[in-house]
C-alpha cells in the first residue's frame, strides 16, 4: 500500500497537509469516521529498508534540505525535519516517551486548555502504543546502550531503557528492529478507511473566500502549479512548516512566535573494545537530572564520528582511525529560550531563529561535564567534546578543565525536537489555536502537530503529538465536522 503522485486539481472535504505523526493519526481518525480525506505530502513515499538509517542517502531522500537546516542565533542551532511520507517518524530514533503527567497538568492550567483531562490523553497514548508496537528490545542491549547504563549505574544515576516503536524478527538482535513508523501503521490504516495520500505536493498558501479558507495553492514535484479545494483543512507540517504556511496565507495571531526545542551538545567517546553501531542508536537514557537535563546516544556511523571530531580537528583527528571503538552521545536540556519562525514574502522557506538563555548555556556546560564523567565511569579511554578549543578528556581532572573552556557559542548545538509554534489554549495572547487545534480567528483551519504543544515537554515529543492529534481529531468528528 503506497501513495499516489499529486495532480494539478484535487478536492477533498478534509485536506490534511503533512503525513507525519500528527497528519497520519488525524487522517486515520477522520477517514474511519467516514469523512472524505486527502493527505498531501511534500516528500516521497520511501519504503523502509531502501535507505540506510542515518546515512547521507537517507538525509537526501527523507529530510528537508538534506538535513541541513539551522535556527539562527548565538550559537545557531542545527535542526532536522522529516520530508517524506510519515515525516519524522521515518527517520528518528523510534524512542517512545509518554507525555509526563505533571507537564500535561501545567499545560492545561497555564494555557487554559479546556475539556482536557490528562488521564484521557494517557488513555489515547496507550492505544497508540498498541498500534505502533511500543516495547523493549528483545535480548541483549547494544554496546553503546550498555555504556550509558554502566556509566550511570557506577555514578548511582537514574537510567533505564526507553521503549521503541519497533518489531523484531524472531531471534534477531536488538539492532535489527523494524520501525513501526507512520508508513507501516497509521497511513495504511487511513488508506484502508478510504483516505487518499498524494506525495510530491507542496502547499504554498491557503486562500480564503467569504472569511473561510477554501483552496490550497500547491506546487507539484515537477514544479507545475496546482490547487486543492476543501471544506476543512488540517495543517500538520511540523513546528516549522505549519506556522510558516499559516503566515504565508496571511493568518495572524500567536503564530510562529514561541518555538521551543531541546538543545543538545555532543561528545565522542573512545573505548578499548569495538563499540560502534553505524545504523542504530542506544535505547538507554539517563534521567537523573530530568527534566532539565537528559543523556542519551546518537547515531555514530563513521561520517558522524568524523563530524563530532571536527570542531577540534588538529588535536582530535588521530581518533578518527579508531572509529569502530567510538560512539557519539548527547546531553539534552529543557531550554527556557525561545525561537521564532518568520515567513518572508518571495522567500520559499521561513527564517528560523532561536535564543538560548544564560541558564541554558550553563546547563549545556554542566550537562557536557556530567556526560563526560559518565563516559569515564563507563570505561572510556578518551572523550572528545564537540566544541572549538575542547581538550581531550582522559580523567576526572580533565573534566574540570574541559568545563572551564566550554562556551555554548563555540559548540555544535543541535536539536531534533521542535514544537510550540502554534500553542493550543484559550488565551489568544499566547496561543495560536484553541483547545482542540482550531486556529484562533479561523472557522475551518486547524493545526494538529508538534506546533500545538504549549512548551517543550522535556521528553521525546512524538507520543504527545500523536495523542493530542487523535484527541483533537475525535473532537472534530464529535462536534460535527462530518456535516460541516
Amino acid at each position: 500500500m503506497t501513495a499516489q503522485p499529486a495532480t494539478a486539481s484535487m478536492h477533498a472535504d478534509v485536506l490534511i497537509i503533512g503525513s507525519g505523526a500528527g497528519g497520519a493519526t488525524t487522517a486515520t481518525v477522520l477517514a474511519e469516521a467516514g469523512l472524505d480525506v486527502l493527505v498531501v505530502e511534500e516528500g516521497d513515499w520511501v519504503e523502509q529498508g531502501s535507505v540506510v538509517p542515518f546515512s547521507l542517502d537517507q538525509m537526501d531522500r527523507q529530510y528537508r534540505a538534506g538535513g541541513v537546516t539551522v535556527a539562527l542565533g548565538l550559537p545557531s542551532i542545527a535542526y532536522t525535519e522529516g520530508r517524506c511520507a510519515g515525516g519524522g517518524t521515518e527517520v528518528n530514533s523510534g524512542l517512545y516517551w509518554r507525555p509526563p503527567g505533571d507537564v500535561l497538568e501545567r499545560w492545561r492550567d497555564q494555557f487554559r486548555i479546556h475539556d482536557f483531562d490528562p488521564h484521557d490523553l494517557l488513555a489515547i497514548a496507550a492505544e497508540v502504543e498498541q498500534e505502533i508496537s511500543v516495547g523493549p528490545v528483545p535480548g541483549p542491549y547494544s554496546e553503546p546502550s550498555e555504556v550509558l547504563r554502566r556509566g550511570a549505574d557506577a555514578l548511582g544515576w537514574r537510567n533505564g531503557e526507553i521503549p521503541r516503536w519497533m518489531t523484531y524478527p524472531k531471534g534477531a538482535p536488538a539492532t535489527a528492529g523494524q520501525r513501526q513508523s507512520m508508513t507501516r501503521t497509521y497511513l495504511p490504516r487511513a488508506m484502508r478507511a478510504g483516505a487518499r495520500i498524494a506525495t510530491g505536493c507542496r502547499v504554498d498558501r491557503l486562500e480564503a473566500q467569504g472569511g473561510k479558507a477554501v483552496r490550497a495553492v500547491t506546487t507539484l514535484a515537477d514544479g507545475s502549479p496546482g490547487t486543492i479545494t476543501f471544506r476543512h483543512v488540517f495543517v500538520c507540517g511540523g513546528a516549522i512548516q505549519s506556522p510558516a504556511l499559516l503566515q504565508r496565507s496571511g493568518i495572524r495571531g500567536h503564530i510562529g512566535r514561541s518555538l521551543a526545542v531541546h538543545p543538545t551538545v555532543k561528545l565522542a567517546a573512545r573505548f578499548p573494545d569495538p563499540i560502534n553501531v553505524p545504523d542504530d542508536v542506544p535505547v538507554h537514557q539517563v534521567k537523573e537530572f530530568a527534566p532539565h537535563l537528559s543523556f542519551g546516544g546518537s547515531a555514530s556511523n563513521p561520517g558522524l564520528v568524523a563530524l563530532n571530531l571536527l570542531d577540534q580537528w588538529p588535536t582530535f583527528k588521530q581518533a578518527v582511525t579508531d572509529w569502530q571503538h567510538i560512539s557519539v552521545y548527547y546531553a539534552a536540556i529543557t531550554s527556557e529560550g525561545r525561537g521564532r519562525v518568520f515567513s518572508v514574502p518571495r522567500l520559499r522557506d521561513p527564517i528560523v531563529t532561536y535564543g538560548l538563555t544564560g541558564r541554558d548555556r550553563e546547563l549545556l556546560r554542566s550537562g557536557l561535564g556530567r556526560l563526560t564523567l559518565l563516559m569515564l565511569e563507563a570505561g572510556a579511554l578518551e572523550v572528545f567534546p564537540s566544541f572549538k578549543g575542547a581538550p581531550i578528556v582522559r580523567n576526572r581532572k580533565d573534566v574540570a578543565t574541559m568545563q572551564r573552556s566550554f562556551a555554548a557559542t563555540k559548540a555544535s548545538v543541535m536539536t531534533v525536537h521542535l514544537c510550540s509554534t502554534v500553542p493550543m489554549g484559550e488565551d489568544p495572547a499566547r496561543c495560536g489555536a484553541d483547545s482542540f487545534g482550531r486556529v484562533h480567528g479561523q472557522s475551518n483551519v486547524y493545526v494538529n502537530d508538534a506546533s500545538l504543544l504549549p512548551t517543550a515537554p522535556g521528553v521525546n515529543p512524538q507520543a504527545s503529538v500523536m495523542a493530542f492529534a487523535i484527541r483533537n481529531a475525535r473532537h472534530f468528528v464529535a462536534s460535527g465536522g462530518k456535516r460541516a
Binding site: 538534506g66 541541513v68 537546516t69 561520517g303 582511525t321 522557506d349
Partner: protein
C-alpha cells in the same frame, strides 16, 4: 528568488579547506566531496542558501587576491558567528561525506593503500 548555482561559488574555498585539513586526500575524492557540498548548498532553505552564497562570494573574492588565503584564515579565526559558520558548514558536509564513503580514510586524508605505501 533566483537560485545561484553553488559549485562555482563554494568550490575554490572548499578545496582549500580540504587541502588544509586533509592534505593527502586523493584529488578525485576531494572533487567528489566538493561536488557533494555544492549539491547540499543548492538544496539549503532559501535564506540560508542566500547567506552561504554571499559569504562564499566574499571568500571567493578574497582567495582571488594576493595573500587572500592568509586573510581568509584570519577571518575564519575571528569570533564572528555567521562568518565562522560558513567554513564549519563546508567542513561538516565534506567530512561526513568522506568518512561515510571511505571510512578508512586516515587523519591526513590518505587512503589505506596510499598510507601503506
Amino acid at each position: 528568488m533566483r537560485q545561484v548555482p553553488a559549485l562555482p561559488v563554494v568550490a575554490s574555498f572548499a578545496e582549500r579547506l580540504l587541502a588544509l585539513d586533509l592534505p593527502d586526500l586523493p584529488t578525485g575524492h576531494r572533487r567528489e566531496a566538493v561536488e557533494f557540498v555544492a549539491r547540499r548548498v543548492d538544496g539549503l532553505p532559501s535564506f540560508t542558501s542566500f547567506g552561504v552564497i554571499v559569504l562564499g562570494s566574499v571568500f571567493r573574492t578574497l582567495l582571488a587576491l594576493p595573500g587572500g588565503w592568509t586573510a581568509a584564515r584570519i577571518v575564519m579565526r575571528l569570533p564572528l558567528p555567521l562568518v565562522a559558520e560558513y567554513p564549519r558548514l563546508i567542513r561538516s558536509l565534506s567530512f561526513a561525506y568522506i568518512w561515510e564513503h571511505w571510512p578508512h580514510t586516515s587523519p591526513t586524508g590518505a587512503q589505506p593503500a596510499e598510507a601503506a605505501a
